[in-house]
Subunit: 183 residues, 2 copies
DNA sequence: GTCTATAGCATGATAGAC
DNA sequence: GTCTATCATGCTATAGAC
């Protein structure tokens, strides 16, 4: 039996994501990640060409995880499925805010999700939105995504300081966007 | 007549914003800003307590500028005024992407706009959205802002790689959100 | 208000031994 | 694959002279 690798890909991506959520994306440094997986910084360069490649590992992983959760949630009528997918996104963003920002607005193109990781997510979204806006599903998908991502980002950044019920605002916004999309 | 200050507040904030737009928020360092205004780094600590305070100067300035432009654009019927304000936001975000992210999701609460700078912007928005959603203007304002900010962020981060007409997607999304908000 | 000088630290990345 | 050692660079922030 082969000697077990000290740094498996799973452990590596888990370490990156954990550091990112706990200390922020800037804290994902070669040495911090190395320490988390129990090696020295130079050894990491055998696994990832540089810091951004490390972030991309996390971005791809998070993209897959988010897609899984949206898929699992999206059942029922087209409208209901879309609403459930949006709520799944919000739940994911609440649980993994840094990973979410990595998926939607990474610090540089090489740190964001690869095209291969994004493709299935886009396909799922277009599929889900098609019944509501068969004439222009791409615009509709962008509208829904932009709203949901913007809402979650602002929520996490404390942009909603006016008080009020943020959960209710999410549900009202979701209803409004879905209402507006129907053509 | 008093000797003119080498570092006026105007020059300082202009330097911060220029560096931020040109090289990114991370490039706004004490020494970079100092060099831009023609002094040494330690001298800056007389003007701002630390790096985040420097960013807040830019955030407050950008907030005022954005509000001015939205105000100037928001004429006509309530619906038309809101659409124009949203387009003004998109234009501002295209011109000053880093400042925009500073306004809506700064890297830390002390780097974002001060409450004093935010208040008039919130008031304007609530006022503008009130005719459409008199029963819950706060949720409506959040929905519109979240969508517009999310759209602009994703646009700038190259999240719309599927091609298609992004301008048209913006207009369609805007129409959909405004349609959905009317109660 | 500005300067020089410096402390103190973290970073990304590489060379070469094992 | 991993290590030690190291380079070169950058940063925030402070002390104290002028």
């Amino acid at each position: 039996m082969p000697a077990p690798q000290r740094v498996t890909p799973e452990r590596l991506v888990a370490a990156v994501r954990e550091i990112a959520e706990r200390d922020g994306l800037d804290a994902v440094t070669m040495s911090a990640v190395a320490a988390a997986v129990g090696v020295r910084a130079p050894s990491l360069y055998k696994r990832a060409a540089n810091r951004h490649a490390l972030l991309r590992l996390a971005a791809d992983d998070a993209t897959r995880e988010l897609l899984d959760e949206m898929r699992a949630a999206a059942v029922g009528s087209p409208r209901h499925a879309l609403a459930a997918a949006a709520r799944a996104l919000r739940a994911f963003a609440a649980r993994c805010p840094r990973a979410t920002s990595l998926v939607f607005s990474a610090p540089g193109p090489d740190a964001g999700p690869s095209a291969a990781a994004m493709a299935p997510a886009m396909a799922f979204l277009l599929d889900a939105v098609h019944p509501l806006s068969p004439d222009d599903p791409l615009s509709a998908a962008r509208t829904l995504t932009a709203w949901a991502y913007g809402f979650c980002t602002m929520e996490q950044n404390g942009a909603f300081r006016q008080g009020g019920d943020v959960d209710a605002a999410f549900e009202r916004g979701l209803a409004a966007v879905l209402r507006g999309l129907r053509t």
